[in-house]
């Protein structure tokens, strides 16, 4: 009985998601879809639409994906389109880039982006820079996707956030979805994009279910890159975030709303190109800014947002210095109490908002 309660408490989202997955609702209105299923749908639809699209990576085929994102695809499309690779990231990332150069449209999965470091030369030097170096002769239509950032209890080598690393490089588009709609629309756009796209998912979001509008269920539903989304409008402070941290920002905003503080929560969706305009417009209304991310502070996503605001017209609208809420500047520890205190919690976000608002 105790264990059941425990299970229900900790796995609230997962359980409710699982329950909802059992019921295949067919009404045309909004439907509950997990991020995992949204990603799966996106790949399925794009594989069907264009026969040049194929998926390669470790365990993507017969295992149905290490995180089950590619579940059912191998059964449907076979060995030619869904390819299991050996554990050789540098090799298979290079092969994927070469295939893209020669006319195919690969989706290269990294089991986590931590392993992409082994292949990062192929992502940057072979994929990102080639169109420029060839002065527009050789394009590279490839998607690199996989889970990014902290998970739960996987410790230092498996928890790094690469948004800032990839976001640094011209020639790449870097995308970080939060909701199921984000996942589906952005992944479809990524696959259809003729350029190298780094698609940063989040393992802890895979099992989370979201409402998906009727529009987003269409096979041609695309979300454009470079446009942030205002998930929650507000007047008092702009809260900019990406990926899983958006959930925490919304939770913090809900708590603060009870105290009369209305936060405008912006989901960045794209890291590169960064949508500065939406953030600036928001600041001109709220006069306050914080950024929230899971990654490390130094040279991070928040640092870039703040620098841009300093350099732009919104600076004059700030009533207080803009600040960043980030992961703690340490390698990720293992013990739960340590791990929990290594990434922003709702209380940290609330604290920083109140400090910025001087309340």
């Amino acid at each position: 009985m105790a264990s059941l309660r425990c299970f229900l408490r900790s796995g609230k989202n997962a359980v409710s998601a699982a329950l909802r997955r059992e019921f295949h609702r067919t009404q045309p209105a909004a439907v509950q879809v997990t991020v995992r299923d949204a990603l799966n749908q996106a790949m399925d639809e794009e594989l069907e639409r264009d026969e040049r699209v194929f998926l390669l990576g470790e365990e993507v085929a017969q295992y149905d994906g290490a995180y089950k994102i590619s579940r059912g695809l191998w059964k449907k499309y076979g060995d030619k389109r869904i390819i299991d690779t050996p554990i050789t990231e540098m090799g298979f990332a290079g092969i994927a880039v070469g295939a893209a150069m020669a006319g195919l449209r690969p989706i290269c999965e990294f089991m986590t982006f931590n392993f992409s470091m082994q292949a990062i030369d192929q992502v940057i030097n072979s994929a990102a820079k080639t169109y420029y170096m060839s002065a527009g002769f050789q394009s590279v239509p490839i998607v690199f996707r996989g889970p990014n950032g902290a998970s739960a209890g996987v410790a230092a080598q498996h928890s790094q956030c690469f948004a800032a690393w990839y976001g640094h490089c011209p020639g790449l588009k870097v995308v970080s979805p939060w909701s199921a709609e984000d996942a589906k629309g952005l992944l479809k756009s990524a696959i259809r994009d003729d350029n190298p796209v780094v698609f940063l998912e989040n393992e802890l979001m895979y099992g989370v279910a979201f409402d998906m509008s009727e529009e987003s269920q269409s096979k041609d539903f695309l979300i454009p890159f470079g446009k942030a989304k205002i998930e929650r409008p507000g007047n008092h402070i702009t809260v900019v975030s990406h990926s899983r941290m958006v959930t925490l920002c919304l939770d913090a905003a809900a708590v603060l709303a009870k105290e009369g503080i209305e936060c405008e929560v912006i989901n960045m969706r794209t890291i590169r190109p960064l949508d500065t305009e939406t953030i600036e417009t928001s600041i001109m209304k709220t006069n306050h800014l914080i950024t929230v991310e899971g990654g490390w502070p130094q040279f991070g996503v928040g640092a870039e947002v703040l620098a841009r605001i300093m350099e732009g017209p919104a600076f004059n609208f700030l009533d207080a210095p803009a600040v960043r809420v980030t992961g703690v500047d340490i390698p990720m520890p293992y013990a739960k109490i340590l791990e929990d205190n290594s990434i922003p919690q709702i209380k940290d976000i609330i604290f920083s908002i109140k400090k910025t608002l001087n309340v």
Binding site: K80, G91, D194
Partner: protein, 393 residues
Amino acid sequence: MRKMLTIISNVLRGSASRNGARVVVSARTYADFTPQATFDIKKCDLHKLEEGPPLQSTLTREEGLQYYRTMQTIRRMELKADQLYKQKIIRGFCHLYDGQEACAVGIEGGINLSDHLITAYRAHGYTLTRGGTVREIMAELTGRRGGIAKGKGGSMHMYTKHFYGGNGIVGAQVPLGAGVALACKYQGNNELCVCLYGDGAANQGQIFETYNMASLWKLPCIFICENNKYGMGTSVERASASTDYYKRGDFIPGLRVDGMDVLCVREATKFAADHCRSGKGPILMELQTYRYHGHSMSDPGVSYRTREEIQEVRSKSDPISLLKDRMLSNNMASVEELKEIDVEVRKEIEDGAQFSTTDPEPPLDDLCNHIFYNNPPLEVRGTNPWTKLKSVS
């Protein structure tokens, strides 16, 4: 009769060189030259192969003249690049290919233009054999807008149809090439990819990762190691525990080829191409060759090897001389004819050098272009927040 023909042809040639037009010495061709000859070529060492390429190669007069012309063009172009670099008109990296001409020309002789090829940074020769012109290669070296990459790539980043560069990161081109081969197999077009790398790169881990996947998936890939005995300044004995580069593919069949003999390279390439196209998967070729220049223009090339060694290769194994001797001693061409080709080549190189030094540099508003393909125009931050530059596809 012969004397009369000689007089006539001399007159024809004389008038031709005055006008600068190309003359077809037709009278002498039909009467005097051997249309084709068969040559013995060195046997290749084999690894995991029952039989290798044929021990003889048949060369037609046309092929011979074409190989001669192309090798001479590469040779002269590289020497001209040497000159321009010393005059500081070419800057940065410049890795010259003279001495290795038989590799590029022989390989191209064994495949089709519809096949694919990728190599590392010593790429000027391949850019030419794959369809680039002398003008656009040289203008790329000097960084002008008429360069094959509009001046934005430089020596190591030249591309043309079915030629994927020109790659600066040692070894990275090998997985790329296997990826191209995967695309060939996927699309079922019976094309293959030639994937080149050097003796220095041969120890790269990603190459072994590629051997594994190419073999597993039977990719139509010819791996070619251009062994010029030195990886920058490190001789092969000091870099590799095993210098049998044709065996390093382990489960991949391999052959070791005389890379100074264009016919040997051609036959080996044809053999390898047949292997790939028959669906047997990848194959590996080691071409034993030599570079006269140092690793790059900043390397005199004599601190780790002797001048005597360089001189010996030049006098005994020069690829252009080897072909020339073969053709002359079998009456497949005349000394004058080959000299004429030399003159034409020299002229083409002069023209290329002239173009490359007079063509203007790229315009500044090209600076930020070509970031993304098929993309609406975007704004790029300049060196300061007030400078916003435009970028189009």
